[in-house]
């Protein structure tokens, strides 16, 4: 069974600081990878996704993530955060296979950006 691990439960940083959130997954086959964000009081929204091709993917709001297959990782980065990036971030993995789409989420990382 696939699983997703997010290294940090909580991150606190100041505006303009750089952000990197770790995500590792366990699954030996081909995967689709996602980062979702949940702003306070709002629903989950897609930040970015990786299906194939360039392992460095760019998403909305200046976020990017790098897929490193050898490390089973898909870390999320943003060079300079803003107060509005305060949210909870979820990494998710979809194991591609005959069983169809089954998105497994990590436990989430709560990010607080201090103004």
């Amino acid at each position: 069974a696939q699983s997703v691990s997010q290294h940090n439960h909580h991150v606190i940083l100041s505006e303009a600081a750089s952000l990197e959130l770790g995500c590792n997954y366990s699954y030996g086959g081909t995967v689709n990878l996602f980062w979702y964000v949940q702003y306070p009081g709002q629903h989950l929204q897609l930040l970015l996704k990786y299906f194939s091709g360039d392992p460095l993917v760019k998403g909305i709001k200046g976020f990017e993530a790098e897929f490193i297959k050898s490390k089973f990782s898909f870390n999320l980065r943003k060079p300079s955060v803003q107060w509005s990036d305060t949210a909870e971030y979820f990494c998710a993995v979809n194991a591609r296979g005959a069983a169809g789409n089954k998105l497994t989420f990590g436990g989430g990382t709560r990010v607080l950006v201090k103004p």
Partner: protein
């Protein structure tokens, strides 16, 4: 284009009472999911539908939870009877063929 619509947004009930949640997925999305999200945790899959067929319900506590998607569009998730530990946010999502999930705003259940 309308997103995934869920209702009710909030529900407060006493334990042992029944409760039902409704979901209308994005038009054209054949795959529908119900996820459970506890506070401070990531969503956990309860059940996944391909059209009207439940193709993955291994995580659904079938003694008290049930779901249906009769015409392959809308879906309902029911809990009967509810327990204190069922307090959580119940998320509905639908996906395109590419596998990207679109989530509704969730139904927050509080069991007293």
């Amino acid at each position: 284009e309308a997103g995934v619509v869920q209702s009710p947004r909030y529900k407060i009930i006493e334990k042992k009472q029944p409760v039902a949640f409704w979901c209308n997925p994005i038009s054209g999305h054949n795959t529908l999911y119900w996820y459970l999200q506890n506070l401070g945790q990531g969503p956990e899959l309860l059940i996944r539908y391909e059209n009207e067929e439940a193709v993955d319900d291994s995580q659904l506590p079938k003694d008290r939870f049930s779901a249906e998607r009769l015409k392959g569009v809308d879906s309902t998730l029911k809990i009967q009877p509810a327990e204190l530990g069922d307090s959580a946010v119940y998320l509905c999502a639908s996906s395109s063929l590419e596998g990207e999930l679109f989530f509704g705003e969730g139904s927050r259940l509080t069991v007293l």
